[in-house]
Symmetry: C2
Amino acid sequence: MPTDTAAELLALFAAAGDSWVSGEAISRRIGVSRTAVWKHVEALRALGYQVEAAPRKGYRLIARPDLLTPEEVSAGLTTRRLGRVIEYRETVGSTNDLAKDLARKGVPEGLLVLADQQTAGKGRLGRSWLTPPGAAIAMSLVLRPALPPHEAPRITLAAAVAVTEAVRDMTGLPAGIKWPNDVQLEGRKLCGILTEMEAELDRVAFVVLGIGVNVGLRREQMSPALRETATSLALEGAIGVRRAVLVQAILSRFEQAYDDLLAGRFPQVLSRWRSLSVTLGRPVRVHGLGGQVTLEGVAQDVDDDGALLVRDADGCLHRVLSGEVSLRPA
Amino acid sequence: MPTDTAAELLALFAAAGDSWVSGEAISRRIGVSRTAVWKHVEALRALGYQVEAAPRKGYRLIARPDLLTPEEVSAGLTTRRLGRVIEYRETVGSTNDLAKDLARKGVPEGLLVLADQQTAGKGRLGRSWLTPPGAAIAMSLVLRPALPPHEAPRITLAAAVAVTEAVRDMTGLPAGIKWPNDVQLEGRKLCGILTEMEAELDRVAFVVLGIGVNVGLRREQMSPALRETATSLALEGAIGVRRAVLVQAILSRFEQAYDDLLAGRFPQVLSRWRSLSVTLGRPVRVHGLGGQVTLEGVAQDVDDDGALLVRDADGCLHRVLSGEVSLRPA
């Protein structure tokens, strides 16, 4: 079944809610004969949708699987330019790597790569990122901002704001941002953001914004080490969050924040970041790219480049542009 | 003829200077029969080398073409790790694009791409760059520095220093650096540097450093517009500069400066940059990425990130990280 037909059929069912949709209405809407309608319904069922059929009543959708497919994400998406074109893979090595390949081939801004499973998911600083099938969101956006590279970290901050607000709105869980770009719940990592770019030294060619969210991930799917540091929406009590709906919420909030930063309204994004931060005001330890502790102090603020401003015991203010920060008890 | 055999044969001739080398000595050195020596000499001649042959004396090299081949560049190269592996193309779209492809495939730091001609040479900010056959150097180095992206501009400054010093040493011409990375002679551009990178936001994956030098370029090879703004070593009176030797000189100076900056001695590089600069102390006009004038003032200094510090008429100091600068009469 073509994607468009499936999307139209799903939209029809969504509009009908609990009501029945007649075979005739379906045949008019998707432009096939009434006898062919049955075949399209069967195709939906094969994808995991539960469709009830009854003589003289027609069809109604009684359960939909939690899929990240283009049909699911496109139906109800409110963005103007981000995620309007979706490249979906059931399994992929890394959505960021696929998005970078596509970006190099010239795909326009806004293309979204989605995968149900990553076999070689990537985290920051060369780390791996776990994405077992059905349990997480793995999404990567191709962006082509007219920014110099040193302003690109603003995109990561905007993305962290978008994810945190989307999670709070959908689940009520008190998600917060750990500098620069982890979204946490009770000190455990819920979402990682990996931003990669290709650039001349004073001009970004493209940015790939990768977002991984642990949605239904169970404890036994994590390594013992990960159980200490990571969590998922389900583990924190938000059961049954539909991944496609969360993707829509993230995309729509991110598009707003991204438009703000491109239009010179980055201070607004930054002020939302500050209010969601769990880092500011806390004693922190800064680790360099090699893991060594390079600075201890109190996190004071972030600046326009996304740098963390840390005041050390001597009262000196340091600008931290890279590396890792661990939070210490206040 | 394999590259290694040609390189050995050329090294043998180079060591002999004006003297003859016997066929027997050649056969011993390159491990072929004396009758096969003649075939190897013929292969060299086919590349443009003039080799004299005389019975009972042997062979001697009386003229060598100005080639950018691996044999020419490798013979006499003094670097430890940059340019030890060379990927040569007689014609290529862009040496930077080829180097980026190779870098993505994982080639190690130091790989050098060389081409005699570029058909789609690239300059900064999406401009094109002219590289007709035989008249210029087109070289791109793959680098893998352990630097955050905001320090990558230091590599460009180091490269500008290396090219400028190499040109001064080899030709005596008073080359100077216009911020950030043009090497000029009498206000006309002699060399352009295009640095591209792939990075996470806080870690460089690789940098491709592209250097184009106009060596023998003639006025009639330039467009009318280019004649106003560009020049070549030959046009400035330095005739017969061998491109391979200039590449060696650039590589060896750049390796030193690159090692300095990786080892925390960037201030030394910067102080050489300052002394070669034609921008500092001059009234300048700064143009944004869109071409608009964003600032006028006097160029005071560069800082550790390679930013140009410009003082405006009100005495305020501005940090210019991207864009273009035009020099104005003092």
